[in-house]
Each structure stands twice: as structure tokens, then as C-alpha cells.
Amino acid sequence: MVDNIVRIKHDRVENTVSTDYPGFHNDNEDYSWDLTKFKSKFDIKISYISERVANFDLINIDTSVSNAFRRIMLSEVPSVAAEQVYIFNNTSVIQDEVLAHRIGLIPLKVDPDLLNWIDNSVDEKDKFTDGNTVVLTLDVSCSKNPNASKNSTDPNELYKNSNIYAKDLKFEPQGNQLEKFKSPVVAADPNILIAKLRPGQEISLRVHCILGIGADHAKFSPVSTASYRLLPTIEITEKIKGEDAKYFQKLFSTGVIGINEQSEAFVKDSRRDTVSREVLRHERFNGKVKLGRKRDHFIFNVESSGAMPPEEIFFKSVRILRNKAEYLRNCPIGR
């Protein structure tokens, strides 16, 4: 059996690399790939899945595959974002290109599976169809509020439309998009500030939103963050009692160390630990505690930007990796 704990010392880490390959160890264990064996060992534990965030553990899986899922979620799961902004009028203080960039970064609530990819071989004027493009418009102008109180200094009261938000982008359904999308396309977060206006200023523009991937531009990434960390382990090798125990408790994140009835410190929840290594700086606990991380236990945290539920993004990353493997399997090997 290989030791799968990364040992964390005060200034170094040990045993970081996985060696579970055939021919690496002189024991009787079989390290070759075996699907049935993997099926019996592999486990998933879901901590929570909210509307925007998923937190789950992948247990007994190698870093190379975990990392592939993380990388795919960040840069290869497609989503919809503004690609072209046609500006008819912009008399605001924000320059056209800055405005276009800001609009591009607004996450949209639209299922990417409902759109097709843009075919770049098609002529520019026939490229955008109701099957691959979502059209949004923004037509706003700011004016004075005649009913504002005389001494007011609040722009929200003095002017109408002084703040332009993501919710002001209006969906213009093309073809049968209204039936196909079920609900109109809106910004996932309605209160993102796009621009500020003053009386007499206006913005009039049209936005073309298309499918894309995060590798091409971050605006297409379906996640705010997708990250993993390894499960921390804490081993108390010598009893820590009384005042020492209380002191010991304070060296970890809250809830990690508990104190029992015999006023002895025990590990309550190592998952909550940040592995700050503070405990290793204190001489009195020298040799009494061992810190580590489980090398094959990944705690994933996936935050969706709003287009898809977070668990859907993980599903898609798994399917994309499988498609990559299957596609390559079918490709002829050229010379």
C-alpha cells in the first residue's frame, strides 16, 4: 500500500508525488489500471449544492484527472457572452471600447446548449442566425427629474436613468427564440453597473452574443472560480492537556480542534483547517502533532457565474474530457 499522505513540515513538504504505477513498488499490490477496482474505491461526497456554488469531494482519484476537470471547467466548457457591440450613439463619458468590454463581461442567463457554434467559414453577413446569436439592445437616455426636491444632491433623485445596469439590456428574440429559450435572455446578475449618465447623455447600442470558450476569452468562462484543495489531516501523536490544549486549539482555524471531558485536545474536523502551519512554529508542541494532506482526496469548489447550475458545469467537464479521448481514439495517426 502506498502512503498517500503529503507530509507538511514547518518549512517543507514531503511525499508529494503519486507513485501508484506498476513497476514502482516491490510489494504484491497490483497498480495497473482496473476499472472494477477503481469503481469500488472511487467515491464522491457532496457537501452542498446551492444555486451558484457546488462543494463536493472526489475521493481516491489522481491529481492528473482532477486537474483536467478543473482546467476544463475554467477554459473549455462553453457559455454565451457578448461578442459584437454595434454602437449607434454613445454620448456618455465612457469610451465605446470600454463600454463594449464591460458589456462583454456580463454573465448572461441562457442555456448554451440551445445555441449552435458560429461557422467562421460562412460569409460575414450570413454568419449570424437565430440559431447561433442572441441579440440584446440597450437604449437609454438620461434626463432631469422635474419632481426632484429643490435642495437634493442625490443623483438618483435629481436625474432619471442616471445609472445604467445590466438589467437594462433588453432581449430581442430572433426567429423562434422566444419559444426555444422558454424564458427571455437576461443578465444573471441584474444589478451590475454598466455606465453612469447625466442629463442629455444617451447610449444606444445592439449586442450580438455568441457561444465561446474560456480559453478564447475569460468572458466565456462559465465559472467565477473552479478550484480544489487536498483534504488536510492532523495527527496528534502525544496527549495535549489542560492549558496547553486550549492554546493548541487557538493555533488552528475555528472548529478544527475540540477539547474533550478529560480536557484533552482532539481533532474534531480537519476538513475546516487551512493548514496555516502555525502550530509548527511553537516549540511546546514539537513532535506532538503531524500535519498532512491526503493526496488523492480533492475538495472541489465550483462557483457558477450564473448561466448554468454549478453541478452541470462539472458534468460538462467530465463529458468534454471523455469526448477528447474518444475523438482522439478515432483519429487516424498520420506521419
Binding site: 476499472l35 457532496i46 452542498y48 458534468f315 482522439l328 478515432n330 487516424p332 495517426i333 506521419r335
Partner: protein, 146 residues
């Protein structure tokens, strides 16, 4: 022996690829077959020079792939007991090319090891997807952020 002119920058849909492992050589191709041929990306994976005669050790070049597939594939190929060595590299950061080297002990060829690795990787993903679906359907987890 001339090799069929490779098709460059072909956008190929992931879904409608038919199994074809053979190396494209100068077989006579009629018009219809040529259209079929265009569906396959012959530039996707190439055998790099320097492979042994018996094919037990070889390097491959895969385009449009990076560490995502490279490292996962390396791991799963190294899990094969017939494989003596497997490693990957990205020779230049601004070229989207992935090199993967496979050396076997001799009982299988490098291409066979590569294909087994790809099959294993896809089984692997299938199981993870199934397991995650099962856990989602099972429920019992919080829907509130902690």
C-alpha cells in the same frame, strides 16, 4: 509512397466521427470516399520521427491539446503494466502542440498502448459521470452555502 495531402484547419464536429485507425496512405480514393475522409482530422495526431521499427516505442504529436489531456493520458498510460515509459511535453508555449512518448516492454506496440489509454480514460470519465449522477439523485446534501 506519397501521403495523402492533409486537410488543414478543418473544423470537425466531435459527434460524427467514424472509427478509422488506419494511417492514410496513397490508396486510390474516389470522390465519395474523399468526402468521408474530410470528416476526419488527419492533422490531429501524428507519429513523430524516431520510432523503432517494431513500433514498441514511439512519440506522437497531438494538435490543439494541452496539459488537460496530456497529463491525464500520461497517468492512465503509465498505469498499463506493459508500458515501460510514458511522458508528455509541450515543446513551445505558444504552439498548441502536445508531444507524448510511449515505450513498451515489447509485448504491445506504442499505438496499442495509446489506444488502450484513450479507452481507459473514456471508461474512467463514464464512471465518474455515473457516480456523480447517482449522488445527485440520491440527495441528502445541503442546498445552502456553508
Amino acid at each position: 509512397m506519397s501521403v495523402e495531402e492533409p486537410i488543414k484547419d478543418q473544423d470537425v464536429s466531435m459527434n460524427d466521427i467514424e472509427a478509422n485507425d488506419q494511417i492514410v496512405e496513397d490508396q486510390p480514393i474516389n470522390e465519395e470516399e474523399e468526402e468521408e475522409e474530410e470528416e476526419l482530422d488527419t492533422e490531429k495526431i501524428k507519429l513523430l520521427p524516431g520510432s523503432t521499427e517494431d513500433g514498441t516505442s514511439a512519440s506522437f504529436q497531438i494538435t490543439e491539446e494541452d496539459h488537460t489531456l496530456g497529463n491525464a493520458l500520461r497517468y492512465i498510460i503509465m498505469k498499463n503494466p506493459e508500458v515501460e515509459f510514458c511522458g508528455y511535453s509541450i515543446p513551445h508555449p505558444s504552439e498548441s502542440k502536445l508531444h507524448i512518448r510511449i515505450q513498451t516492454y515489447g509485448s504491445i506496440t506504442a499505438v496499442e498502448a495509446l489506444h488502450k489509454g484513450l479507452d481507459d480514460l473514456s471508461d474512467f470519465c463514464t464512471h465518474i459521470e455515473e457516480k456523480f449522477t447517482e449522488k445527485i439523485n440520491q440527495g441528502g446534501f445541503s442546498t445552502e452555502e456553508e
